[in-house]
Amino acid sequence: MSVILSEAEAKALLQKVIKLSKADECEANLLGEIRGNIRYARNEVSTSGSLINKNLVVQSAFGKKVGVATIDEFDDASLEKVVRRAEELARLAPENPEYMGVLEPQQYGKSNGFFESTAKITPEVRAEAVAKSLALSGQNQLTSAGFLENRAGFSAMMNSKGLFAYYPSTGVNFSLTVRTDDGKGSGYVIRGYNDFSRLDTEAASRIAVQKARGSVGAKALEPGKYTVILEPTAAAVLLESLYYDMDARGADEGRSSFSKPGGKTRLGEKIVDERVNIYSDPAHPELPAAPWAGDGQPQKRVSWIEKGVVKNLAYSRYWAQQKGVKPLPYPGNMIMEGGTASLEEMIKNTKKGILVTKLWYIRPVDPQTLLMTGLTRDGTFYIEDGKIKHPIKNFRFNESPIIMLNNLETLGKSERVVSTESDQSYMVPPMKIREFTFSSLSDAV
């Protein structure tokens, strides 16, 4: 069997599986993928590899007793075996009061996330892309370390009520850290696309080289509250912690930053600056995502924060039923709308401030206020009178994305970035924030 099945092949295989079911309900999820990567450090290739992976998950239910089994073989006997195993486990399992049954067939929108340019990448193509980067970043007293990874695959699902969903996708991520040989400067770049032909490793590498050279000779500033300009790569990791918290159940239960005293939530309340608009949309041309969630619910365009007001929180099907509202799956992408300013214009309009290009090791400190800690990394600069004056030493910050988005000064143009914490891609604008809290200095370069 080939690894990446067409829609018709996936449908035929899943129909075969569902037909074997003797349970009240049955749901099957199928995945196939091919991955390849190349890694380099100290200006030469280090480790690299490839992976072929495929997998079938079968969930069977008798009433609210549910069992799950999987297999990675696909002959008729194996398909029969996996269905019988799921049924045996379902009979043994305790009742799950939160089991909601399988969904009726759904309508899905279109989303194009599969590109031949990415699917046909070979080891030679990866090596060539990296060679271009090394030609720039591995010369003239610079040391580079980078990583390029590509993936092509599909996921599909079917259930005993006739629901069928299929989504093929590809992706390529490229990241690079360039350090000066004396260890005094460091610069970073990361790019992610569905379409490999969009990736220009040479142009990306130039950015990391520029930041590495520009960050040599950093001066120490006193920790404290500063106006900052967060480049999208830096802003993404803080926004992501806010996105992870947008679950209705946690908020209703009184244990998230969206909770209020007395069992109430901040749904419908203005929590951040009115220029903040955040939505998800699987059909977004720059950031396509699967038009269905893991349980088969359709993913549609959803507004999460509009003009600073919390418009939606994610409701699982169980929690939605408890609360008498419509279920809303956790989204497959997140887009924060931007303004019109370029990063250069934002710097030009800053009297005193700090340009933060990347944040690192972000961890929650207090879930109630969503206070996060972490550090600046790979290029932090002091701005005075509209110009970058000099590089500065790295800071540790203690800041909440909610407080940060209340202290918003300016939004730039939104662009696709990859989170350096989770590898997820988002659309994020550069943003100028006042009174961002830096709590101590770090000697790290």
């Binding site: 590899g49 370390a145 918290d245 005293p261 550090l375 540790r396």
Partner: protein
């Protein structure tokens, strides 16, 4: 994205409690009880790959045939949310060809044709990349061990314990939490079995059976009037043990302001205390920022050791191989070569080991066929060594690998991973009580909490689970909103006392991330309670 994969599998938003990756796919529990593929078959599959790689021009090859079993039982309050059984089987082949590494992995590789195909792909990748090498890989020589095996010395295989017993335990734990004032409680049992077969062109055929176990919970208490909430997580440690870790044994209990545990964990007792303590935290005094002497329990200190000693002394980081993700290290080669780099005070000896029974790092051989051992990293305060594997030790002028190479799956390439790194106990007899008696203005911290450190491992910030104020040698009450910030060298030089070996306990990380693509590994860190003077404490309370 691994964290999301887990959340989908478990159907659980445990809300910032931890970052949990998952490897493999769901399966049925009874399939865990079959012993897997026969060793003779594994040898035949491995030989096919070794021969194929050699015929394509590889000068070195190793083959890992892996079967990875995981079982997670996930509950909240009076509900079993999910029972996740995963099994993952496949083959990974690593080669050196034209002086360059290459790696390829194939799921469900059960024929000689499959394993040979992986070997050929690995050689093709090595050859494609060789032009990007400046100098060929230098591998420390390693004698083959022939056909050998190693099994973790577990007393009760967690995979043989009926699901019902596990469900009953967790629901009992949750019930105890609710009866003692919790508003919410989540509890999970993580059980892992790695069945690993390693073969290399050096002539080793190594069959190993590794078990790990981690019982955890998080209790939440809410003040309905203010809407404030506090949590208290379990004081258990992830262990290289079977279900025997859950055997209640008075000898494994350390009594004091709260009970802590050694090689046996009383989950019911701990959750009962946790519910009461989470409630107590709601009204605890918010800490006044400033300098304090810190008394750090092993259930807390393991994480500080992990981040500020374990990671900076990984030789691949020091050399720049992790520069693009995990970072580099302040502990550069010149500091080692000077022979007098003052990593900590003379009280501080930190050692690496892959042999301690019951620890997460314990194996017979590492993932490149090197027999495991123990060695010093910091001796009486001075930096004396790193953690290094076969393609690195020549840089240290050594001829043998330290035996700390690991891959988290058949599908991942093996690389240098942290062995257990522990703080040696103090030589003079000293109890925790005696240590606290001497502290004028201090905080006693138990359990691990929030953590963050820079990419060269200088500046860090740590939270915890329980904080007790110490005034004039006495514990005076509970504190909250505590985190401490320091610099690695300054912090370890502020260590003035370490309790004796009677207090030595293991903590550890079940999911330590490193590498690209990211891999997780499990590692233990042992210590006795230790005292650090004049550390900067911040207050983390905010208003939104």
């Amino acid at each position: 994205m691994k964290r999301r994969d887990f959340i989908q599998l478990s159907g659980l938003g445990i809300g910032g409690m931890m970052m949990i990756p998952v490897l493999g796919h769901a399966t049925t529990p009874e399939s865990f009880l079959d012993s897997g593929m026969d060793v003779a078959v594994k040898k035949r599959l491995a030989d096919a790959a070794l021969n194929a790689a050699k015929s394509k021009g590889a000068t070195y090859t190793d083959v890992r045939i892996g079967r990875y079993l995981n079982q997670y039982v996930i509950t909240r309050e009076n509900k079993v949310q999910n029972i996740v059984n995963t099994e993952s089987y496949g083959v990974g082949v690593r080669v050196i060809a034209d002086g360059c590494w290459g790696f390829a992995a194939i799921v469900d590789a059960k024929t000689e044709r499959d394993t040979a195909k992986a070997a050929e792909e690995a050689v093709a990748i090595a050859k494609a990349n060789a032009r990007l090498m400046k100098s060929p890989v230098i591998l420390a020589p390693q004698n083959g061990y022939g056909e050998v095996s190693w099994k973790a010395p577990i007393k009760r295989n967690a995979f043989e314990v009926p699901i019902q017993e596990k469900v009953d335990l967790l629901l009992g734990v949750n019930d105890a939490a609710m009866k003692n004032g919790a508003n919410y409680v989540n509890s999970i049992l993580f059980m892992v079995n790695e069945q690993k077969y390693f073969a290399s062109s050096d002539g080793s055929y190594i069959d190993q059976d590794i078990h790990r176990m981690w019982p955890i919970f998080a209790v939440t208490c809410i003040d309905p009037k203010t809407g404030k909430f506090e949590t208290r997580q379990s004081l258990s440690a992830p262990m290289g043990m079977g279900y025997d870790y859950l055997q209640v044994n008075p000898a494994d209990k350390v009594t004091g302001i709260t009970t802590r545990y050694n090689m046996g964990y009383d989950m019911l007792e701990d959750v009962t205390a946790a519910a009461q303590q989470a409630k107590e935290k709601l009204t605890a005094k918010s800490v006044e920022a400033g300098k304090y002497d810190l008394v750090l329990d092993p259930s807390h200190l393991w994480l500080t050791i992990h981040e500020s000693v374990g990671h900076p002394l990984e030789l691949d980081r020091v050399l720049g191989y992790e520069a693009n993700f995990a970072g580099t290290s302040f502990a550069t080669l010149d500091k080692l070569k000077s022979g007098n780099f003052n990593y900590g005070s003379p009280q501080v000896t930190l050692f690496a080991d892959k042999t301690r029974e019951g620890s997460l790092g314990a194996v017979g051989w590492d993932d490149e066929g090197v027999k495991t051992k123990r060695w010093d990293l910091v001796k009486d305060g001075t930096l004396v060594n790193y953690q290094a594997i076969r393609d690195q030790v020549h840089i240290l002028g050594e001829k043998e690998s330290h035996g700390c190479c690991y891959a988290d799956s058949w599908s991942s390439v093996q690389f240098q991973r942290m062995p257990n790194v522990s703080l040696a106990p103090g030589k003079a007899p000293l109890s925790v009580k005696e240590m606290i008696k001497d502290v004028k203005k201090g905080i006693y911290i138990i359990g691990d909490g929030s953590f963050s450190i820079d990419q060269q491992r200088y500046n860090f910030q740590f939270g915890g689970q329980l904080f007790y104020e110490i005034k004039d040698g006495e514990i005076t009450g509970m504190l909250k909103d505590v985190a401490y910030q320091s610099n690695t060298q300054e912090f370890w030089n502020s260590c003035v006392q370490v309790c004796d070996e009677k207090d030595f306990r293991l903590g550890g990380s079940f999911f330590d991330g490193k590498g690209q693509p990211s891999q997780s590994s499990a590692v233990s860190h042992g210590s006795s309670t230790a005292r650090f003077n004049g550390v900067n404490v911040i207050n983390t309370a905010r208003k939104i």
